[in-house]
């Protein structure tokens, strides 16, 4: 039965007049107070912009300290002869990025209005720059001091303003609805950057015949612009290829594959590509392969047995395994065995809940085999000596070290933080007490202290014969510290999951563990994504504290190494330039993080009210 709607809907009233003047009146000059605020803020922003330009383009700025030391800033002492490895690493990331964009169908489109608006903003900034820069109005009260520079800035700005305006309004009717693919704009921007790399000359240090150091304008060294161009091309080609192929492959499989590749890419880059571990076939055949096979097969059989137990026997066996695994700390043995025992205990504990039947069981056992293989491989790769000879105390330095520290600490502290959060909200007093104590103690002491502890006291506490390298110690300290904060964030998320969710999960018979894994934890993590991203950004920046224990991270090189350099060129006192550069690089990374998290939040918000 349908009821006809007889009335014709009324037309919506004409929209009120709009336009820049109306907008400005409503938003900037609506009351005396807002007029004052607008004027003051405008002056302030102009002042800051002018000051920044004056700083960057001042005649005595030594930007050649940055350009000449780019390699030092990025990878510190990594040998030039092995540089292909660095480019391969960057290439892996770019290829994965391109494939991800294609498979996750990132991109969408923006309107021509918006794009035009953005171009116009850049143009306006350029015109203003021409006027308030160190060559413009401010430089000389009587008039323009450096007419060429001013006219270049203003000229470029005007061209951009016109181009942006045309983009906005050409074919007015279409322009309002017309859209531009975001990825197309990105490719255009990448092309622009590449063209700039090949044409714009940057300051580099040089010596006059009589030995005085001067700065000359030179094109960026061949060693970077050729690889960057090739990599950009590879990235774009990868994107197009994956885009062609993506309709022919199952989307879920493709997404899982790409996620797996991302997870694998980090250890592969650090442990295999950059480190190039020495192969030791004898050790592999007599130790790693037998151990992995033994644990894989025997452990698999045991897990299969435990998962198929209906009664208490499975749980009892699992509990015995936990005791054995924890006891292994007291008995001297290879770390690999300890790790595998601990993992077997965890798998055994979870087997009654997640072992399932049929394909689920096979998947669970497959997961065990995979874990054994990966853990054995990683341990083998870490313990094998590197064949790349680095003339420095630590294998990595510069931005590479900063990135490796951040990624390792974030990845490792994530599961630890979740466990601590679960412990703190657990009904079992002993877990709650242990987790709470850990969190409160770790959070109550500054990170610098923990770093010092890791470097000075950890070696004393470890059993004799065990040595941990500098980078690993820093990772341990950062991980343990970050996990405490992570735990508090996750706990907040757990508290936001309603009681009804637990009741519903229990009412359909899910066990406590299953409820945590399937119901409460996914919702908790989703709820605290903004907090977790904020923390990740904070950790990324906090890695700069490792300078205190003598690691040569990105900031340390910018802050200490370069400004005290005398060979082959003198860069004494160039700290202002290097710090500004470091700030820009840190900002670029953190800004991308926060953008990505916004995307993630939107994506996970699907279906939520």
């Amino acid at each position: 039965m349908t009821i006809e709607v007889l009335e014709t809907p009324e037309l919506a009233p004409e929209p009120p007049p709009s336009g820049p003047r109306v907008w400005a009146k409503n938003n900037l000059f609506s009351s005396p107070a807002s007029i004052v605020l607008t004027v003051v803020t405008t002056l302030l922003v102009l002042g800051v912009y002018s000051g920044l330009l004056a700083f960057v383009f001042a005649g005595d700025r030594r930007w050649d300290a940055v350009t000449f030391n780019m390699r030092l800033l990025m990878v510190q002492a990594y040998p030039t002869s092995q540089f292909a490895r660095v480019w391969v690493s960057v290439g892996i990331v770019i290829v994965l990025l391109a494939a991800t964009l294609a498979i996750y169908r990132v991109g969408g489109s923006t309107t021509r209005r918006k794009l035009g608006g953005n171009i116009m903003s850049v143009g306006a900034a350029a015109v203003l720059g021409g006027l308030v820069g160190p060559w413009g109005l401010e430089a000389s009260p009587v008039g323009i001091e450096d007419p060429t520079t001013v006219s270049t800035w203003v000229g470029v700005g005007v061209v951009l303003l016109v181009a942006g305006y045309l983009t906005r309004t050409l074919n007015t009717e279409q322009a309002k609805a017309a859209t531009v693919p975001v990825l197309g704009v990105t490719v255009a921007l990448i092309t622009l950057v590449l063209i700039a790399m090949w044409t714009i000359e940057l300051p580099f240090p040089a010596r006059t015949p009589n030995g005085t150091q001067i700065s000359v304008q030179e094109p960026v060294a061949m060693s970077t612009r050729v690889p960057w161009t090739v990599l950009a091309a590879i990235g774009i080609i990868t994107y197009l290829l994956v885009k062609l192929a993506r309709d022919r492959i199952d989307e879920r499989t493709a997404r899982n594959t790409i996620a797996g590749l991302w997870v694998a890419s980090f250890p592969v880059i650090v442990l295999v590509v950059l480190r190039d571990p020495a192969a030791d076939l004898t050790r592999a055949l007599t130790w790693y392969v037998p151990v992995a096979l033994g644990f894989g097969v025997l452990g698999g059989l045991l897990l299969n047995f435990i998962a198929s137990q209906k009664g208490e026997l499975g749980r009892i066996l699992a509990a015995v395994l936990v005791v054995v695994a924890l006891g292994s700390i007291l008995v001297p043995m290879e770390w690999l065995i300890r790790f595998l025992l601990l993992l077997l205990a965890v798998f055994a504990l979870l087997a009654p809940s997640f072992g399932g039947e049929g394909i689920t069981r096979r998947r669970y056992l497959g997961g065990w085999l995979g874990t054994v293989t990966v853990v054995t491989l990683v341990v083998a790769l870490i313990t094998a000596p590197s064949t790349v000879e680095v003339a420095s105390a630590t294998f990595l330095g510069g931005l590479a070290l900063t990135l490796v520290l951040s990624v390792s600490a974030i990845v490792l502290s994530f599961p630890l933080g979740i466990l601590l959060a679960l412990g703190r909200t657990s009904k079992m007093p002993i877990f709650r007490l242990m987790s709470t104590t850990y969190i409160e103690v770790v959070r109550g002491v500054p990170l610098i202290t923990w770093l010092l502890v890791a470097f000075i006291m950890l070696p004393v506490a470890l059993p004799p014969g065990v040595e941990i390298g500098g980078v690993a110690r820093a990772v341990v300290a950062l991980t343990l510290f970050n996990a405490a904060y992570m735990a508090e964030n996750v706990r907040g998320g757990l508290q936001s999951v309603g009681r009804g969710q637990y009741e519903a999960a229990h009412a359909v018979g899910l066990s406590v563990t299953q409820t945590t894994v399937f119901i409460s934890m996914p919702q908790a993590l989703k709820a605290v994504i903004p907090a977790l991203v904020g923390q990740t950004i904070a950790l990324f920046k906090d890695t700069s504290l490792v300078t205190i224990v003598g690691l040569f991270d990105f900031l340390h090189i910018a802050r200490v190494v370069i400004p005290s350099q005398t060979q082959p060129f003198v860069f004494l006192g160039t700290i202002k330039e290097t710090l500004l550069f470091a700030a820009v690089v840190y900002w670029m990374f953190t800004f991308s993080f926060s953008r990505m998290s916004l995307r993630l939040e939107k994506k996970l918000g699907v279906g939520e009210r």
Partner: protein, 262 residues
């Protein structure tokens, strides 16, 4: 639902509706929240295929009582037997009973991060340990039974309240429960959505499910119930067939309650 169903429901609780052995036996169940005694000795039993409707003013202990039946609340005194198993602190027993007793909540409590189909298949897959495709087959069949097969891939937040409650019923049914508990299943719904949920519940009652329903829907109680229990102040004030209960209430408290709501 079809009109044929509605006509049949007229006869529910009467011929053709043969009750079996007792499924739920409670004996002098008492429960306190702090100093407040919510249940003051509930003794009753529910037979297989019986539909029992519990009514009563808010705070009378009716929700607490059915929440005790799958131990979302633990009773402190007395005993509860579900299908021959006593509810105690033993977590094994509790999990076994929970997998045999389905529950539908006032606020639906669907899992918002899972699709409708995943909401339904989760428990069969991980508690009953059915293979995934088998669980999904059951899920699709149940969605057809509750009348929303086309919503399988949506998220709960994209559904209307009535649809969500029907998904919640399907989710409980997926565990093939022997008993279904309904805790005010239509109280959070807009009036026009109440009927679609009640229709599903009537169909379920006709199919021979043992049901305990806490509700304010007197029409439903009259049509479908085999027995009506009236709760007040944590006790069963009056119990009887709907006919007896609505036309000839014995207790003054019951009379007052009925005069206020009818």
């Amino acid at each position: 639902m079809t009109t044929g169903n509605e006509e049949q429901t007229e006869t529910a609780g009467q011929p053709g509706h043969v009750l079996g052995e007792p499924m739920i036996i409670t004996d002098d169940v008492k429960k306190w929240f702090g100093d407040f005694q919510a249940l003051k000795g509930i003794t009753t039993s529910v037979k297989e295929r019986e539909v029992v409707v519990i009514i009563g003013p808010s705070g009378s202990g009716k929700s607490t009582f059915i929440r005790c039946l799958n131990r979302l609340e633990a009773h402190q005194e007395g005993s509860i037997f579900i299908d021959g198993t006593e509810l105690t602190n033993d977590i094994k027993n509790v999990e076994k009973i929970r997998s045999e007793v389905g529950m539908v909540f006032q606020q639906f409590n669907l899992f918002p991060h899972l699709t409708v189909l995943d909401n339904i298949t989760l428990a069969p897959q991980w508690v009953r340990k059915l293979p995934k495709d088998e669980a999904q087959e059951i899920g699709v069949q149940l969605l057809e039974r509750v009348g929303i097969p086309e919503q399988a891939e949506k998220y709960p937040g994209q559904l209307s309240g009535g649809q969500q409650q029907r998904v919640a019923i399907a989710r409980s049914l997926a565990m093939k429960p022997k008993i279904m508990l309904f805790d005010e299943p239509t109280s959070a719904l807009d009036p026009e959505m109440i009927k679609e949920v009640l229709d599903v519940m009537k169909e379920l009652a006709l199919s021979g499910m043992t049901m305990i329903v806490v509700t304010h829907e007197m029409g439903f109680a009259r049509e479908v119930a085999d027995r009506v229990l009236f709760f007040d102040f944590g006790t069963i004030v009056e119990a009887g067939t709907p006919e007896h209960f609505f036309t000839n209430p014995q207790h003054d408290r019951t009379k007052l309650f009925l005069s206020q709501i009818l």
